[in-house]
Symmetry: none
Subunit: 215 residues, 2 copies
DNA sequence: TGCGGTATTGGGGGAAACCCTAGTGTAATT
DNA sequence: AATTACACTAGGGTTTCCCCCAATACCGCA
């Protein structure tokens, strides 16, 4: 039987977290579960508590799950990480892999599959959800440099995500603890790099990069 | 104590359904719960089984939740309907109201709030999730005819499309041969009507209204 | 015919964003 | 060890946008 000492769960919808927590608690009654709805807090909790297992939604406010994984690994987090996502796009899966995730489970999976994933990663195996074409993921990985293949730097993606969530540069500057001017400089460099000259294009780029959703 | 004879739950993600089912089952152990992940099947089940209560996600494959509500009511479904949605936009809430929903609960709510919503609608009351500005919904309802395209005036659509294409208000003013201030007034009234408070939301609204495309 | 609502038009002032320029730190290259 | 490249940081000055307010024009309705 798999034993999980502690668990952190990050999802942007509290109802979803509650439901998942209920299901997991039934399977692992003795595991303390800590939950959060935002990426930055998830990262902080991971580093503070070093939980045995972290369940991370990909689309999170503040900082998306893929960046959380990268930052956590870079900061020395050693626990297992399973991504929860509704996206089956190979690009996302490959990015999760490279950033240091151990499992990738689609939200359109049965709970039993999540249990299989948990057991797999706790045995130091990787798990890829059914319904994801692993060949396509391999292909993407081939054409994907080990790091920094993306168009934007982590900081730029972070800023772009916050912009696309509708926050002002002032608010973003407070969130990131930098100057207003710094945020504006990031915005500017993002637009230069993507060849965008207006706000609308910025939002559309964020959508097509998966940093935010239309609705 | 509220008694629910039967319940149908529709959500596009099986993991979410499982979790929610687990929570609800704990509260209503004797209620049979039927679940589905697609809108068309949800509609069919509602008409066949006439459940006491239906929980409907707004974003569903095949047929979105708002259309399911409209069709179900038109076909004589008499049970209660609670919408589950991640969208707080007044536009969506107003549409749900007009189509015949009894409750509207954000996915970013505690499970306890869903229970309050269930108890409310079973007592023939309407329930609106916290975090939704009911005044904004009322405002939208005022300006909302029976068909969906009355949300914006032709001029507003025209302006919104140009905005979403990335043009500045100044350029738009020149294109339309009106004052800069007029265009800005249009932008303002569009945002008021849709319950939007930032530029990002404006672009996303234009996309979901089909006025522009992501790429 | 008059009345109310709203579509469309416009202004002023304050806040936010954009363009240009530039310092610092880090990592890879030569 | 020196150089190059670039991510991240930041300021000054200009342009653009957002909120409160108002005038005219149009359309349905009593």
């Amino acid at each position: 039987m798999t034993i999980i000492n502690s668990l952190i769960m990050a999802d942007d919808h509290e109802l979803v977290r509650s439901g998942l927590k209920s299901l997991i608690q039934q399977q692992f009654p003795d595991t303390p579960i800590c939950e959060t709805g935002c990426g930055a807090q998830a990262l902080a909790l991971m580093l503070q508590q070093q939980p045995t297992l972290t369940l991370l939604d990909v689309t999170l406010p503040n900082m998306n799950g893929l960046d959380v994984v990268a930052s956590a690994r870079k900061s020395g987090y050693k626990g297992k990480i399973i991504m929860l996502s509704m996206h089956h796009w190979p690009k996302y899966v490959a990015r999760a892999w490279l950033n240091g995730a151990d499992g990738y489970v689609l939200k359109d999976s049965a709970f039993e599959e999540l249990l299989v994933a948990i057991n797999s990663v706790m045995k130091h195996e990787r798990y890829l959800s059914k319904g994801i074409c692993s060949q396509a993921v391999s292909d993407v990985l081939e054409h994907m440099g080990p790091n920094q293949d993306d168009l934007l730097t982590p900081r730029q993606r972070q800023v772009l995500q916050l912009v696309a969530e509708g926050h002002s540069s002032k608010y973003i500057a407070n969130q990131l603890n930098v100057s207003l001017k710094t945020v504006e400089a990031h915005r500017s460099s993002i637009m230069n790099r993507l060849g965008i000259h207006d706000f609308a294009g910025l939002i559309k780029a964020a959508i097509s990069l998966g940093l935010t959703q239309v609705n």
